[in-house]
Amino acid sequence: MSIGPAWYLGLAAVLFALGAIGVMVRRNVLVMFMCIELMLNAANLTFVTFSRVLGDVGGQSLVFFVLVVAAAEVVVGLGVVVAIFRRRASTTADDLHEMLG
């Protein structure tokens, strides 16, 4: 039999915390996007684990939808980054302070 679910959940929690720290720490917008992907993967791992524990296919379906939404999010997000780069020639979040009051 496989490893117990607690190990998977612990690993997912650590991965999620890593992604959250990355979003808070990094200043490159592209790397921040990658850290968001880390968090999404942690959530996916949790979904699959609970899907196995509960014997329910719903968790796997949800992972499928998360994948789709992640793809859409990355497409739009990178489009925004490219559009910003046209104007500011920078992908650093600190330089994007035009909307300061």
Binding site: I3, N44, Q60, S61, L67, T91
Partner: protein
């Protein structure tokens, strides 16, 4: 701990190796100075998670994870990184916002501790089993069950994701399209303005898109490396 003992040796070894791969990849994403290295570390994490999916008998999702995430999303990241030419090393020691990093570490540790405490103390296997259809029903594969679930129970959500993808594609095209020649402020901003330096007087304000950045370049020659970045 009981569960680990009950597991077979190959399962335990697989999980341990994948956990190391996933976490080192994640640390690589967070700490890499070069965005390209961060993207490659992300690939490592995604493969580790895919193997963990296989370990939990989610074979279809593992394949989709590799194809969609590692094959499409990361390639999109790499494409944008290299297209924008931002694949230079970033100085991670500079800390423009004072106290940001310790605070971020503290917040991350708090959230991790919260999640772990929650999963350790709460009764986390709750709810009814097999609400959306059993995962081990009969001798069907997970792909069959997942497809049946998506095309029956979650059909409406599936249709909505189709609309979402179309909207995302249209939005990306609109965002990435170069503005037409009627614009005057949508032109590629020369790097001199960003640095606060004087914009050359002879800047062709309504010049066609592509050459607009080029004539400025010699005028902005002795500048910092943002200009070099634009030139790339």
């Amino acid at each position: 701990m009981n569960a680990l003992v009950a597991a077979t040796i190959p399962d335990a070894v697989t999980f341990a190796v994948c956990a190391v791969v996933v976490l080192s990849g994640g640390i690589g994403v967070v700490t890499s100075r070069n965005p390209v290295h961060a993207a490659l570390s992300l690939v490592m994490t995604l493969f580790g998670v895919a193997v963990l999916f296989i370990e939990q008998h989610a074979y279809f999702l593992a394949a989709v994870q590799v194809i969609v995430y590692a094959g499409a999303i990361v390639v999109l990241f790499l494409f944008v990184i290299m297209f924008l030419g931002v694949d230079r090393e970033e100085d991670l020691r500079a800390e423009p916002l004072r106290g940001q990093r310790p605070l971020a570490l503290v917040l991350g540790a708090i959230s991790l501790a919260g999640v772990l405490a929650l999963s350790a103390t709460a009764n986390w296997v709750t709810g009814a089993h097999k609400v959306a259809g059993g995962l081990t029903a009969g001798h069907h594969t997970d792909t069959f069950l997942l497809g049946k679930s998506i095309f029956t129970t979650y059909l409406w959500a599936f249709e909505i994701t189709a609309a979402l993808l179309v909207i995302a594609v249209v939005g990306a095209v609109v965002l990435a399209r170069r503005p037409s020649s009627t614009r005057d402020e949508g032109s590629p901003t020369p790097a001199t303005e960003r640095d606060g330096g004087p914009v050359p007087a002879g800047e062709p304000a309504a010049a066609p898109n592509e050459p607009a950045a080029v004539p400025n370049e010699p005028a902005a020659a002795p500048g910092s490396h943002e200009k070099v970045e634009v030139a790339r």
